[in-house]
Amino acid sequence: MKIYLDHNATTPLHPQVLAAMTPFLIERFGNASSLHAWGREAKAALERARMTMARALGTSDKDTMVFTAGGTEADNLALAGVATAQAGRGRHIIISAVEHHAVLNTATHLARMGFEVTRLGVDSDGMLDPDDVRRAIRSDTILVSLMHGNNETGVLFPISPIGRICRERGITFHTDAVQSFGKLPLDVEAMQVDLLSLSAHKIHGPKGIGALYIRRGTKMQPILHGGLQERSRRAGTENVAGAIGLAAATELALGDQESAAKRMTDLRDRLEQGVMASVPGVLRNGHPTERLPHATNLAFTGLEAESLILALDLAGVGVSSGAACSSGSLEPSHVLLAMGLPRDRVMSSARFSLGRMSTREEIDRVLEILPPIVERLRRVNAGLSPALGAR
C-alpha cells in the first residue's frame, strides 16, 4: 500500500475535474479570444469558471479574477505588478520571513531593482503579530504581502486584522492563500485583502493554473506583455481547460468543505497523537490551534528528516520537509529557521499533509510503519559523529 501524505506539495487530479476539463481539450478547443463560434464557446466557459472563482471568494464581481499559470505567477503578478505601478508613491514592501519562495524571491528580485523590503519575523509558534505590521509601515510603504496558511507549518496568519491596518493606511494588501483556499472558507471582504493568490493543483485540480483576485481600483501593471487577454492584465492565450479544471476543483472543495476539513483534522490529530504516543522525542512545530486543518510539522529529535523521508519513501509513504533545491536534495527550512528553532530541530523536522481522500487505514498503517523506522534511524544517527570512519 502506497500512502501519500504530501498534499501540500500537490494532489492528484480528481476524476470529476478531469471529466469537466476533457471536452475543452478536445472538441471545445477554441481560442477564447476568437470571435467565431469556437471562440465564443470557449469564452463563455471561461467566464463561467471566472464567476465560480469570484463566488468562491465571496464576491459576485467576476472581473476581479485573473487566471494565471499557477500560484507562483499569481504571487509574481501581485508583487511585481503593484511595485511597478505604485513605484511613484513609494518603494517600500513588507513581507514576512516565512513566505513561500514565490513571494520571498520575487521580493528579493524587487529589492535588487531598487525597492526596499522589510521581512517581518514570527514567534516560535510561527505566528505573526499584526502590531508588527503596523509598526513596520512607513509613509513610503506601497505593499504588504503576508501569506494565509503556511505551506510548511500550516500556521494561519491573522489576515483580517492586518487587512484592516493596511486599509486604514491605504496600502495594497496581498495574501498568498494557495494552501488555505478550498480548505477553509475564504472571503475577500471579511479578510480585507486587495489581492489573493490561489492555485488549482493543491485542491485536486490540474497543475499550471491558478488565479489572482484583484480588488477593483488596485493600482497594478501586468508582468506578462502581449495580447489583451484577461482584460489586459495577463497576456497569453487563455488556458480554458485549466480554468474549467480550477473551477471544477473549487466546486468540489467547497461542496463539502466543512465536513472534509473536519475529517482531515480528525485524521491529522489521530496521526499526531499516535506518533507522539508511540515515538518518544517528537515535537510539533507551529501554532497549536491557529493552523490549517490537514497538515502537521513534526520534529523527530535525534534523527535527520532527510533520512526519515527517504526511509518512509522506501516503505511506500510520501512525506516531505523544507524545500527541495534544484538538484533534488534538501535545504533546511527557512520557515522553521525563522521561528528561531535550533538547527538540529529544523534538520529533524518533517511535514505530513493529508488530503480529502486520505483514510483512517492509511493513517493507522503509517502509525505501524513509522516507529520502527524512527528507532532504527536514531540508532544509526547516534553513530553519525564527525569522528566516524578513519581518515
Binding site: S307, L310, D313, L314, S327, S329, P386, A390, R391
Partner: protein, 384 residues
C-alpha cells in the same frame, strides 16, 4: 527496501553520474539485489538562477541528471543528498589544511572512508540497507582463515583505485561492494552500452572532482590570508628567492620557482615551521627511507616484525619492493630497495603483499622526515 521482500539485503549505490557507478548499479539490479541510487551533492546550491550570473542550467548540475536518468532507466529509487557541509568539513578542509602544512593531500581517501563508506554507509543502515556499492575499480574478499576482509587491486591495473581505499576498516570493507572491480574499463563501457545506459560514452572524470582547472587558484580563493609568502632556500640554507605560499608548491616540482641556476632545481622540502620552500638538485629528490603514520592495516591485525612488501608512494606508480619496519603509534618505516623520487609528505603510502601484489595489506600517510638537518646524509641512506 525497508522490509526486504525476498530476504536479500539492500545496497545503496553511490552514483556520481559517471559510467562506472552506473554499471555498478546495473550489475546489482541484474543480480536481483534491491538497490537505491544516491548522489552526494557536494557543491553549493544556488537559490536562484541569478545567483550564479547565468540563466542556463548551471543550477542543476548535469552529473545529477545523468545519475538520475540511469537510476530511472534501471527502475531503482534515486535520491540526492545534501553533502555540501559534510564534504566541506571532511574533505575540503583536510585538502586545504594539508597544503597549508606543506603536504600533498589525497582528497579521495577521506571522501571514501569518511563519506561514502562513513556517513553514507551509516545512513544506509538506517534505510535498511547493509552495503554501499561504488564504481571503484577494486575488489573485496573474505579471508576465512584469518577471519578478515581483504582489499585487492582491480583486475584492470590501469584503472585500479584500491590506493584510495587503503584505510577502510574491517566493518567498512565488509559493507563495501565494487561491482566493476573485476572488469576492464572497456568491458564496463561495453556493458553500459548493453544495458542501454545513456552514460556509456561519457568521458572519464578528472582527478580532483571539486576543483575545476587550477587547484592553486582554488586554494588562493579559499585560503586567503592563510597563504603566507616566504623564502626559498637551497639545501645549504642559502636564500635563493621568495615563494608565494607553501600551498602552491609540491615536492618534486621544477617549474615556477623563478630561480636561475646552472642545474635544474626542484622543490625537495616544504617546511611549515619556518615557512620555507627548500630547493635542491635532481639527486636531492631521491630517498630510500619513508616514514608513514596513521597506518591502517587490512590483511593482518597488527605487525610485529619487519616484513617484505611492495609499496606505492603515489597513485601513479608501479609498487616498489621495500622492507616495512613497524614503529610505535601506528607508524611504520619503509626502506625501499631502490631510492624513490620526490616522496611528498601527506600522500598515501600503500602496501601490497610481496608474494601476492594484488593484495592491499594497508597504508598510511607519508610523514615529513623529522630530521632534515643533514640533508646530504638523508639521501641514499643505507638500510638500518
Amino acid at each position: 527496501m525497508t522490509p526486504v521482500p525476498d530476504g536479500k539485503s539492500g545496497v545503496v549505490v553511490a552514483m556520481s553520474g559517471g559510467v562506472d557507478s552506473a554499471v555498478a548499479a546495473a550489475l546489482l539490479v541484474q543480480q536481483g539485489i534491491p538497490a537505491v541510487g544516491i548522489t552526494l551533492r557536494i557543491w553549493p546550491s544556488p537559490r536562484r538562477a541569478d545567483d550564479c550570473g547565468r540563466f542556463d542550467s548551471c543550477c542543476s548540475p548535469a552529473a545529477v541528471e545523468d545519475a538520475r536518468g540511469v537510476a530511472e532507466s534501471l527502475g531503482i529509487p534515486f535520491y540526492v543528498l545534501n553533502y555540501e557541509e559534510e564534504f566541506d568539513r571532511e574533505v575540503i578542509q583536510y585538502f586545504m589544511d594539508a597544503y597549508v602544512a606543506g603536504e600533498t593531500p589525497n582528497p579521495c581517501v577521506p571522501c571514501n572512508s569518511r563519506l561514502k563508506f562513513g556517513s553514507l554507509y551509516a545512513r544506509a543502515k538506517g534505510w535498511g540497507a547493509t552495503q554501499v556499492a561504488t564504481g571503484h575499480y577494486a575488489r573485496v574478499e573474505y579471508d576465512a582463515a584469518r577471519g578478515r576482509y581483504r582489499l585487492r587491486r582491480a583486475v584492470d591495473l590501469r584503472k585500479d583505485q584500491s590506493y584510495f581505499l587503503y584505510n577502510l576498516t574491517q566493518e567498512q570493507l565488509a559493507a563495501a561492494r565494487f561491482p566493476v572491480g573485476h572488469l576492464s574499463k572497456e568491458e564496463t563501457r561495453r556493458l553500459a552500452g548493453e544495458f542501454g545506459l545513456a552514460v556509456a560514452e561519457k568521458p572519464d572524470s578528472q582527478e580532483i572532482c571539486f576543483v575545476s582547472g587550477d587547484y592553486r587558484r582554488y586554494l588562493r580563493e579559499r585560503l586567503g590570508v592563510a597563504i603566507r609568502p616566504g623564502f626559498i632556500k637551497d639545501t645549504d640554507g642559502t636564500v635563493r628567492g621568495r615563494h608565494q605560499g607553501l600551498a602552491f608548491y609540491t615536492v618534486g616540482q621544477r617549474r615556477g620557482l623563478g630561480i636561475a641556476n646552472p642545474k635544474a632545481l626542484y622543490v625537495v622540502d616544504l617546511d611549515p615551521e619556518t615557512n620555507e620552500v627548500i630547493v635542491g638538485e635532481h639527486q636531492d629528490l631521491w630517498t630510500r627511507e619513508v616514514e608513514v603514520d596513521r597506518v591502517s592495516l587490512i590483511a593482518v591485525e597488527r605487525l610485529s616484525a619487519p616484513t617484505r612488501v611492495l609499496a606505492k608512494i603515489r597513485y601513479a606508480q608501479v609498487p616498489a619492493a621495500a622492507t616495512m619496519i613497524p614503529l610505535a603509534n601506528d607508524r611504520v618505516r619503509l626502506l625501499f630497495d631502490e631510492p624513490q623520487r620526490a616522496v611528498a609528505p601527506g600522500q598515501a603510502a600503500v602496501f601490497y603483499d610481496a608474494d601476492d601484489p594484488d593484495l592491499v595489506t594497508g597504508g598510511g600517510s607519508i610523514r615529513r622526515p623529522c630530521n632534515l638537518s643533514d640533508r646530504g646524509n638523508r639521501l641514499f641512506q643505507r638500510s638500518a
